[in-house]
C-alpha cells in the first residue's frame, strides 16, 4: 500500500523527492498563468527550502510567461526562498489604467 504512494511522490516531485513535504504556502496564479494552478493551491504542500524557481519549474510555467512575483505582497525575485505560510502570487506581463 505504501509503495504506490512512494511512486507518486517520485513522479510528482522528481529530483526533489528526497526532501520532506515540510511547508504549506498560499499560491495564486493570475491571468494566463491560472492554468498552472495546482490542486489545494491555498494550502499547497511543498518541500522545505524551495525557491520561487522550484515552484515555477515544478508547475512547468514557461520563463517568458512569468513577469511578476509577489511574496506576502512584496516584489520578489525568481531565486527568492519561500517560507512556511507565505502568500505567493505569480503574474504574466500585464497593464491597465
Amino acid at each position: 500500500m505504501i509503495k504506490p504512494c512512494f511512486m507518486r511522490l517520485f513522479v510528482d516531485l522528481g529530483p526533489c523527492s528526497r526532501y520532506l513535504l515540510a511547508m504549506k504556502i498560499e499560491l495564486r496564479c493570475f491571468a494566463t498563468l491560472h492554468r498552472f494552478l495546482p490542486e489545494n493551491s491555498k494550502q499547497w504542500e511543498i518541500p522545505d527550502g524551495w525557491k520561487i524557481s522550484d515552484i515555477v519549474a515544478h508547475l512547468n510555467v514557461p520563463e517568458d510567461e512569468l513577469k511578476l512575483v509577489f511574496i506576502n505582497g512584496l516584489h520578489a525575485e525568481i531565486d527568492a526562498v519561500v517560507k512556511d505560510g507565505d502568500r505567493v502570487g505569480l503574474f504574466p506581463p500585464v497593464g491597465g489604467g
Binding site: 491571468a31 494566463t32 505582497g73 516584489h75 500585464v94 497593464g95 491597465g96
Partner: protein, 576 residues
C-alpha cells in the same frame, strides 16, 4: 486643412480660422495652451468667460495605430483649475475629415435658453433644437440623434448630469458601434457643456476630406514600425486584449495597494469576485466580447462588452477604475450590480471614479450601508433630476458630498477624488496625484508602471527614493502622448522600448514632411505642463494644494503598514 472652429453659443455665430499661434499643437497641448491664453484664470467655470475646447491630437489626421484619442479642455468646475479630459471614440479622427484640428465653444446663452444640437459640416455650423432629448438617458437620446442626423453620425453628448451642470458630469463620445459609451470623464467637462446649453455636437457623417502625408514613404515606414512596437510587447499585444484593464484588480490587491472601504486598507478579501479574470470568464460564458477597441485604428483592443446572466448587453468600457471604485472601495463584490452602476453612469453621464468616491462619502455619512449595491444603484439614479436635492449633492462629487454629509475622511486633491491605487503603497502615482495640475489623477503620471508592474523600470513604491523622478518624467511623457492624440496605453510598449519615442517622432515627421525630433516630442509635453501650471498659479493654486489629505500621513495602510511621508515642499521637484 488644419483649422480652428470657433462657435459662439449665445449668438450662434461661428468662424473657421487659421491655426495662427496654435499651429503645430494638438490634443492636450492645444487645449491647455488655448485655455491658458484665452480664459481668464479667475473666471467662473460655468460663466460666459470659460471656453470648452475639443481637439484631436497632432496625429489625428493619420492612420497611425491608436492615434484617435480626443482631448477636451476647459477650466474645471470640479477643481477650479485647468482640465484636460481625454477620451476614446470616433470624434478625433473625424475632425480632420472636416478640415478641423479643434472646435471651441465660447460665451453662453441667456438664462432659460433651450438646449441645442450643433451640427458641423466642412463649411457650416447649424444649431438645432434639442428639447426632445433633454432629461433622457444617453443611450436612448443617442438613438434619437442618429435618427435625426444619420446612423453613422459621430457625436459627443451630455446626459442629465451635464444638463444640470453637475461637477462630476461627463461628455460621452460615440464609439465604433455608434453608442455613447466613451467618456471624457474627469473634472466636470459635461457641466461646462451644459452651462453653454449644448446637448450634443454632431459631426457630418458625409465629411471625408483626405489629409496628404507630407512624406508618404517615410510615414508608411514609421507606421509599420509603430505597429510592430505595439504588437511586440506582451502587455499591449496579449495582456490588455486578453483580460482588459480589470486584470489590475488582482495585481493591485496582491501588492496590498487596492483601496478598500474608503482607503482604509490595501487588500479586499473578495477581490477575486470582481477581478479581470472573473469578468473575462463571465464574458465568455454569456456571449459578450473580450477584445474591443474604443476607436477605429486601435490595435490594443483592451475594452470589452459585458452581458448579464441572460446574455443581454449591459455595458461596455467596463474598466478597472470603475470596478475598483464601486467594488472594493464600497465593500461591494457583486460584479453584475457593479456593471449596472457603470451603465447608469454612462446613461446619466457621470464620472465613475468621482461617483464611486462620492458614494463612499454617502456610506461614511450613513445614507447607505457599506456593501449595499442595490442602495448604491438607487442613489446614483437620483443624479440628473433637477428637482432632487440629494441627486444634486451626489452629482457634485466627493468633496461637495463630504461637506454635505459631515464626513472627515475625504480622498481628494484639488477637489478631484483619488483613483484606484493607494498612494501610501504606490508612491510613484501618489506624487502624481499631489502634483499634476489635473487634481488626483492616475493617468497623468502612471507611476504604477514602475512601482507595481515593472514596466519602464522597477522602483519601490513603499519608499520615497526615485518616485519624484519617475512621476515627473511620466507627467511629461503623458502630456506628450496626450498631445499627439495617442492612447496612453502605448506607453506600456514605449517605456520598455528605446525605439518607441523616436518612432512617435518619425510618425509626425512623416505627417508633416519636415523633421520632427524626440526633443520636439518632449517639448510638446513640457510646454503643455507649463501652460497648465501657469494657469493654475494664476487661478490661485499654491504649493499647499500639491499635497494629499492629512489622513494619508497620519494613518498607516495595512497590510504593509506604509504611510505617506512626502512634504508639499519636497513634491515641488516633480513639477517642470
Amino acid at each position: 486643412m488644419s483649422r480652428l472652429l470657433r462657435i459662439n453659443t449665445r449668438t450662434k455665430e461661428y468662424a473657421f480660422e487659421e491655426m495662427g499661434e496654435y499651429l503645430g499643437l494638438g490634443g492636450r497641448a492645444l487645449t491647455s495652451r488655448l485655455i491658458n491664453k484665452e480664459v481668464p484664470a479667475d473666471s467662473h467655470p460655468l460663466s460666459a468667460q470659460n471656453k470648452l475646447v475639443f481637439a484631436g491630437g497632432v496625429l489625428a489626421p493619420t492612420n497611425a495605430a491608436n492615434s484617435g484619442r480626443v482631448s477636451v479642455g476647459s477650466k474645471s468646475p470640479l477643481t477650479g483649475g485647468i482640465k484636460e479630459s481625454n477620451s476614446g471614440g470616433q470624434f478625433a479622427h473625424k475632425l480632420p475629415k472636416l478640415g478641423l484640428t479643434a472646435i471651441v465653444l465660447e460665451d453662453k446663452p441667456e438664462d432659460g435658453a433651450p438646449f441645442s444640437y450643433i451640427f458641423i459640416s466642412g463649411d457650416k455650423v447649424e444649431f438645432k433644437d434639442a428639447t426632445d432629448t433633454v432629461g433622457m438617458y444617453n443611450y436612448a437620446a443617442h438613438e434619437k440623434v442618429k435618427q435625426q442626423f444619420g446612423e453613422k453620425a459621430v457625436t459627443c453628448m451630455i446626459g442629465p448630469a451635464g444638463e444640470t451642470c453637475r461637477m462630476a458630469a461627463t461628455i460621452q463620445f460615440s464609439d465604433p458601434e455608434g453608442q455613447p459609451t466613451r467618456s471624457a470623464g474627469r473634472g466636470g467637462m459635461g457641466a461646462v457643456m451644459g452651462s453653454k446649453k449644448v446637448k450634443a455636437i454632431i459631426l457630418d457623417p458625409e465629411a471625408n476630406e483626405k489629409t496628404e502625408m507630407g512624406n508618404p514613404e517615410a510615414f508608411k515606414v514609421a507606421r509599420k514600425k509603430w505597429v510592430d512596437i505595439l504588437m511586440g510587447h506582451p502587455v499591449t499585444s496579449q495582456g490588455l486584449p486578453g483580460f482588459g484593464t480589470a486584470i489590475l484588480v488582482n495585481i493591485v490587491n496582491e501588492a496590498g495597494a487596492l483601496p478598500t472601504k474608503n482607503f482604509r486598507t490595501g487588500r479586499f478579501d473578495k477581490a477575486e469576485n470582481i477581478s479581470g479574470e472573473r469578468v473575462a470568464e463571465l464574458i465568455e460564458k454569456r456571449g459578450g466580447k473580450i477584445k474591443h477597441g474604443c476607436h477605429t485604428g486601435c490595435v490594443i483592443q483592451c475594452s470589452q462588452v459585458f452581458n448579464d446572466k441572460d446574455g443581454n448587453f449591459v455595458t461596455t468600457g467596463f474598466e478597472y477604475e470603475t470596478i475598483w471604485g464601486f467594488g472594493a472601495n464600497l465593500l461591494i463584490d457583486d460584479i453584475d450590480d457593479i456593471a449596472l452602476m457603470d451603465r447608469m453612469c454612462d446613461e446619466i453621464g457621470m464620472d465613475t471614479i468621482e461617483m464611486a468616491n462620492t458614494v463612499a462619502m454617502a456610506m461614511e455619512g450613513g445614507l447607505v450601508k457599506w456593501g449595499d449595491s442595490k442602495g448604491v444603484l438607487a442613489l446614483l439614479k437620483r443624479v440628473g433630476d433637477k428637482d432632487d436635492y440629494l441627486g444634486r449633492i451626489m452629482g457634485n462629487g466627493c468633496g461637495f458630498a463630504a461637506q454635505a454629509f459631515g464626513v472627515d475622511r475625504v480622498p481628494v486633491v484639488k477637489n478631484q477624488s483619488l483613483p484606484a491605487y493607494d498612494p501610501r503603497a504606490v508612491k510613484g502615482v501618489g506624487v502624481t496625484y499631489a502634483t499634476t495640475p489635473m487634481g488626483a489623477d492616475h493617468t497623468a503620471g502612471y507611476g504604477v508602471c514602475q512601482n507595481v508592474l515593472k514596466v519602464g523600470g522597477d522602483v519601490d513604491g513603499h519608499g520615497k527614493a526615485g518616485n519624484i523622478e519617475i512621476s515627473k518624467n511620466l507627467q511629461v511623457a503623458t502630456a506628450a502622448v496626450d498631445s499627439l492624440g495617442l492612447c496612453l496605453f502605448v506607453a506600456f510598449a514605449v517605456l520598455d522600448d528605446a525605439q518607441g519615442v523616436p518612432c512617435m517622432a518619425e510618425l509626425v515627421s512623416g505627417l508633416l514632411g519636415t523633421e520632427y525630433t524626440v526633443d520636439d516630442v518632449v517639448a510638446l509635453g513640457v510646454n503643455c505642463l507649463k501652460d497648465e501650471l501657469d494657469f493654475n498659479a494664476r487661478a490661485g493654486f499654491t504649493a499647499a494644494a500639491d499635497q494629499l489629505p492629512a489622513f494619508f500621513s497620519n494613518e498607516t495602510l495595512p497590510p504593509h503598514d506604509v504611510v505617506w511621508d512626502f512634504s508639499a515642499e519636497e513634491l515641488q521637484a516633480a513639477k517642470v
